[in-house]
Amino acid sequence: MNRTRYITAAKHITYSALFFALYIVQATPGLFEFSGAKPIWVIPCAIALAMFEGEFLGGVYGAAAGLLCDMGSFLLFGFNGFLTCVFCIAVGLLVIYLMRCNLASCFLFCAVFMMARGGLEFFFGYGMWGYDDAGMVFFSGTLPVAVFSAAITPAVYFTVKALHNKFKKLLG
């Protein structure tokens, strides 16, 4: 009983450390920056985690990932937290009832969510204010971030999968 509790605690500490490390990588100036755009690491990680751990832990880690993104966002604090939490709950339920838990699904979820999130962020941050040349921000900022974030999905997916399998094996 105690052993199970320790392993479960270790699992959550490991996941939290992974989130923390990915957030630092995400926010460090110049790191993994391509043509001025950087990928978001923590959200694909939360989505992958929702696929492996289910809707509850997915929702919790999704909220945490979103709030981490909100810390550097110019939009209303909680915007990313709310969206990511709801989406990760949906991902957890979709994988349980409808879809398969594999890399293709994870990539699809990440691509769809990053585009939707980027679109909403662009709309609320620029589109609805009627700035001149707002489309430039979408094509040179929003779109590359969404594409890069989707592109790094395999790395995050296999990391989360390896950790999940390791702890699943330890828990028997």
Partner: protein
């Protein structure tokens, strides 16, 4: 599915979503100030971000000498062209003498600025898709940095603090379109008042999306008969938000506005805003407004 909706887990998730909505409402009423979550997390993340930014900077500097050979060659050619330009310019003694006087005056003014209290701070984070090169610095309220404090480098004005946490602060740059329209705060809705050090004409700095992509901004509402010219030096005009006579940049090109009622000019900021790594926050200056 119905089992999930009836479960305790669902109720916990609803509680989490309610807390996030609470954060959003709080952010609306506090003008976007970071709620407790951000401030608590920043206590852990800021020291690590500071370390990772330092490591990243060191590694980038080391590898750049190998990877940037082509860029260095291009830069070398550019510098050679510039040197030739300067040699030609040397012939124009009178103009140089005039410019020299201008520079002496600007440097003199800055040396006399004993009213400025500055706090140096490193840039520790630039988020993916950051708005107009905005960034986070590794110092905050405990270092005396407040919201709306001006931010500059040794080269010139960079922007202002939009949010100050205990040990971090977020900075919006002068390339931001919101500087003009005041999307963030009514205090900034009038824009940043600046003047041309040659003509003494007063205008307002603002950003546009197209110019920001090139690292430029513009000065608007100059008088129709303004004689502002390419190469003129633009300084802050003072007020409650920015101290007077901080270098903003130089005029890159001049154009009348669409209605012909005033003149606008494109400014190349003196500070290299997209890649700035260390800044100074002006925490106190003469005439500073209440925050």
């Amino acid at each position: 599915m119905s089992d999930f909706i009836k479960s305790v887990r669902f109720k916990i998730l609803l509680a989490i979503l309610s807390v996030i909505v609470g954060f959003m409402i709080m952010a609306v009423y506090t003008g976007g100030a970071a709620p407790l979550f951000t401030q608590a997390v920043s206590l852990v993340t800021v020291p690590v971000q500071r370390l990772s930014a330092g490591i990243s900077r060191g590694a980038a500097d080391f590898f750049s000498q190998f990877t940037d050979a082509r860029a260095l060659r291009a830069e070398n050619e550019l510098l050679r062209e510039e040197r030739n330009g300067f040699l030609r310019a040397l012939a124009d003694y009178e103009r140089l003498r005039h410019e020299n006087e201008q520079f002496r005056r600007i440097v003199g003014v800055l040396e006399e600025r004993r009213d400025l209290v500055i706090e140096p701070a490193p840039v520790i984070a630039r988020e993916p898709g950051s708005r107009f090169y905005s960034f986070t610095i590794g110092k905050g309220r405990i270092h005396g940095i407040k919201r709306l404090d001006p931010v500059m480098t040794a080269e010139g004005l960079v922007g202002y603090v939009i949010e100050s946490g205990p040990n971090y602060a977020r900075v919006a740059t002068i390339l931001d379109v919101a500087v003009n329209v005041g999307a963030y705060d009514s205090t900034t809705s009038a824009g940043i008042n600046v003047y041309d050090s040659s003509t003494r004409d007063i205008g307002v700095i603002s950003g546009t999306i197209e110019l920001a992509a090139q690292g430029l901004c513009q000065i608007n509402y100059l008088p129709r008969d303004s004689t502002i010219a390419v190469g003129d030096i633009i300084m802050t005009g003072g007020g409650s938000m920015f101290p007077k006579d901080i270098l903003v940049g130089t005029v890159e090109r001049v154009a009348p506005n669409a209605h012909g009622t005033s003149v606008a000019a494109v400014i190349r900021p003196a500070a290299d805003i997209p890649v700035v790594k260390d800044v100074f926050v002006i925490t106190r200056f003469e005439g500073q407004g209440e925050r």
